[in-house]
């Protein structure tokens, strides 16, 4: 008992100290912009400028570290580390550039029919797999069926949901995707059960990669799984040495774009992730590194002057999941009051030392065409307005608010700071509790769940709709009001107008018009209804050896863009 009380006191003191330092730092910056709504974000390190991509020359070995991936075969590649390797080994129908713009891959041209229920991809002819086999429409059909087959038990097969015949293959009742027609080697025709005018964007995901006939289906051919033969700019140089490393070399017959410049890429598998990567960068082992959060400030001070530092806002958003169907947050005013009572700048300066950028919208700036800066008016700290709204919503002093986060993932400090701000600013009684990640999800899914939860999201495909549809559409609840949710809309937000705008968006062929629909939808869900509380964008920092290499930049998945990197 005594020990617990002591611990709690210590935790409270730390939190208080944090908030205090946050406040003092803020007042040091001075100039009273805290209640002005129109000022540019005052916290956060600026993004480093875009790298101008120059022609490279062949040669060199690029070295960096990752943690052991689950799979590098496209059938089950899932985490960023595995997909990094898969993307070097395979080139899909289309590809995304570092800003998420879609560029041709094996497909030159793609087109949907009038209602976007059927897609036709015209393929380049004469492109090759690493073993010399030609890549044609059959290679894609084979790859997709290999993923869909029940016996492959792919954990990422759900990306193919919506293709005709996919459900039957997952159920084990069919051996082929009835909706994929590969009768013309140079044309791939895909029929969808859910019409979608931006479906082609999905195919940037490596799960849509083509595979040669040696791959075999279902995906149980271990020789292939351990050393996949693909059609990408790099090929395996020997099999994957588990827990040790992966070596890639340039594919000399790559004809989808220019050949890769690097002779080889050495990917060392480390035990301690970013910690080892940073240590390896410091001792000259690696040419690229992630860093643990505590060293960011120091590393930036050392490496930014040397031009070896990269900061980018990337595909992701940190936010608070809001249980808006349950008291005390079932009133939009209560949700806005909460959002306005959080001083994001203070937390970013105090806890994150400036390494994040406060959010003013939900779809992040990495989608420049869809990004609506300032859309979330309640994302600006405004104490008077917050108090007023709280009063109107009946969010009285002493109201209990449940706030959960997952432990051991670096969320302890900032969640404590938010608790402190809400208690100080609105007089709420915040019950902050840290739980294991699976428990957090499980608690969020329960019908009676209330309060706020730590959450983050990154799009699977480079489209703003992937921030809206899975998190906020009615169908993504996947359950009735008295059942646990099965989709990602765990806040159970449901708004017919929002659903209709999304639906209209998916049925609009013109890209600019489509994005307008999604923007309107975001305005309703976040701007008007405050269905979620955005906190800060996902901002990533990397070290890159610009002394030896040029064209060093982060790709859309936050990995080094190996295809363009060249020695000086």
């Amino acid at each position: 008992m005594r020990k617990q009380a002591w611990l709690r006191a210590a935790a409270g003191l730390t939190a208080a100290a944090l908030v205090l330092t946050a406040c003092s730092q803020k007042s040091n910056e001075g100039s009273g912009d805290s209640d002005g709504g129109d000022s540019a974000p005052s916290a956060g390190w600026p993004e480093t400028p875009d790298v101008e991509i120059k022609d490279g020359k062949p040669g060199g070995t690029f070295r960096f570290g990752i943690t052991e991936p689950t799979a590098i075969d496209p059938y089950n590649g899932q985490e960023s580390e595995g997909l990094l390797v898969t993307k070097q080994l395979f080139t899909g129908l289309v590809q995304a550039d570092p800003d998420g713009n879609i560029e041709p891959g094996v497909a030159d041209k793609w087109e949907a029919n009038d209602d976007c229920s059927q897609w036709t991809f015209d393929l380049k002819t004469g492109t090759k797999f690493h073993n010399g086999e030609e890549v044609n429409s059959e290679s894609f059909k084979r790859g997709w069926e290999r993923v869909s087959a029940k016996a492959s038990a792919s954990e990422v097969a759900y990306h193919l949901t919506g293709i005709e015949g996919f459900d039957e293959m997952q159920a084990g009742t069919a051996n082929a995707l009835s909706g994929v027609d590969a009768s013309d080697p140079a044309k791939l025709v895909v029929k969808l059960t859910d019409p979608n005018c931006e479906w082609y964007v999905r195919t940037v995901h490596p799960v849509f990669s083509p595979v040669p006939s040696t791959a075999g289906a279902p995906a149980t051919n271990t020789a292939y799984v351990e050393a996949p033969i693909g059609n990408g700019p790099f090929m395996m140089d020997g099999p994957w040495q588990h827990d040790v490393g992966i070596k890639l070399k340039r594919f000399e017959d790559y004809s989808i774009g220019h050949k890769a410049y690097l002779d080889s890429v050495e990917i060392t598998i480390t035990a301690n992730g970013s910690q080892d990567e940073y240590a390896g960068y410091q001792n000259g082992t690696f040419d690229w590194a992630r860093m643990p959060t505590p060293v960011l400030e120091q590393a930036r001070a050392t490496y930014e002057p040397q031009n070896q530092w990269i900061t980018r806002n990337t595909n992701g958003m940190n936010y608070l999941l809001v249980m808006g169907t349950q008291k005390p947050l079932d009133d939009v005013k209560a949700r806005k009051a909460l959002s306005m009572a959080i001083d994001r700048d203070a937390i970013i300066n105090g806890v994150f030392k400036g390494s994040m950028t406060p959010a003013t919208a939900f779809v992040p700036p990495v989608f420049p065409d869809a990004f609506q800066e300032g859309l979330c008016e309640a994302c600006t700290f405004n104490l008077d307005e917050a108090k007023k709204l709280a009063k109107e919503a009946g969010l009285a002093e002493g109201t209990e608010l449940n706030f959960q986060f997952n432990v051991d993932a670096g969320h302890e400090e900032w969640t404590a700071a938010i608790k402190d701000q809400l208690e100080t600013n609105l007089g709420l009684k915040v019950n902050l509790s840290g739980v294991q990640f699976p428990d957090l999800l499980n608690n969020e899914q329960q019908p009676g769940a209330s309060g706020i939860y730590r959450a983050a999201w990154g799009a699977d495909y480079p489209t703003p709709s992937n921030f809206l549809q899975p998190l906020l559409s009615t169908e993504a609840i996947g359950a009735g009001p008295s059942e646990p949710t099965t989709g990602d809309n765990r806040g159970r937000y449901s708004n017919e107008k929002f659903d209709q705008l999304l639906k209209d968006g998916f049925a609009t062929k013109d890209e600019a018009e489509r994005i307008k629909k999604f923007q309107e939808a975001e305005k309703i869900a976040i701007g008007d209804d405050q269905a979620l509380i955005p906190l800060w964008y996902r901002t990533q920092h990397r070290l890159a050896n610009t002394e030896k290499f040029i064209n060093l930049r982060m790709d859309f998945s936050e990995n080094p863009d190996l295809y363009e990197i060249s020695i000086k």
């Binding site: 070295r63 570290g65 052991e68 689950t70 799979a71 029940k150 016996a151 038990a153 954990e155 097969a157 759900y158 997952q170 271990t222 799984v225 040495q241 588990h242 827990d243 040790v244 490393g245 070596k247 050495e266 060392t268 598998i269 480390t270 035990a271 301690n272 080892d276 990567e277 240590a279 390896g280 001792n283 082992t285 690696f286 294991q436 990640f437 699976p438 999800l441 499980n442 899914q445 959450a455 983050a456 999201w457 990154g458 899975p470 099965t486 989709g487 990602d488």
Partner: protein, 310 residues
Amino acid sequence: MGKFVIRRLAQAVMVVIAATILLFIGLFVLGDPFASSGDKVVPPETQAILREKFGMDQSLPMQYLTYLGNLVTGDLGIDLNQRRPVADMIGAALPNTARLALIAIIIDVIIGVVAGIIAAVWRYSFWDVLVTIITTLAIGVPTFVIGVWLRQTVSGVWIFPQVPRSFTELAPWYTEVLLPAVTLAIVDAAFIARLMRGSMLEVLRMDYIRTARAKGLGERTVIMKHAFRNSIIPVVTYVGISIGILLGGAIITETLFQYNGVGYLLYRSILQNNNPVIMAIVTFAVLIYVLLSMIVDILYAYLDPRIRLS
């Protein structure tokens, strides 16, 4: 002696079965390896397909019986994450861990026994005080502190390979194993030195030592022939158990030095809820442990006839 061995064997089998049952239940309680554990939910349909593939749609007792049946035939199953045969994974890690354990034991036995004897024979001398101080320090400082310190200061110097380093920069196994082995050996050596000192002091007070001295035997013969053999028993027990623990993998030390042994594999598997690998490694550790303590008991019986008779 034969009866003693048989009794000991029967005990060992029961311990193994009980341990696997406990372990199985423990893993089940720990959580569902296929439940969502990230920001995105795993669709329920996908979870169902995975459970079916790995036989986890069966009831718990059924799963246990299947596991036990497979274990007897030497089939350790497929890991849930990368879907490789667990036997292959352990097969790759075990030689590394065995090497590490062996080198660590050699280092700590040599240092520990010598230091212990010196401290006991020249009791209250400068050397005794030194041994006491050093062993107290070594036991007090946690292994990971020693490991982190060694990694930061010594790795990359002289013959010690850099950590981390690119996997293409190969280092001979005996240099790679050295730092983790020293890290592991420091604490063990301290324990052994204290054990050795204590039991040696006790033995030196025995009547038969006085008798030996009275017979006119040289001090060297008294210590090495009469005292040493009798005082080494607790050390033998300790070393036996220590080998068992080390073969089960040194989680922290192996992870710290990027050393691909059983401990590192176990660490990763626990993070991933990778039940078949955890089951296999822990079962293996139990087996080794049981086997070694059995051997130690039998050795005891050989070293001290009173044990075999009681």
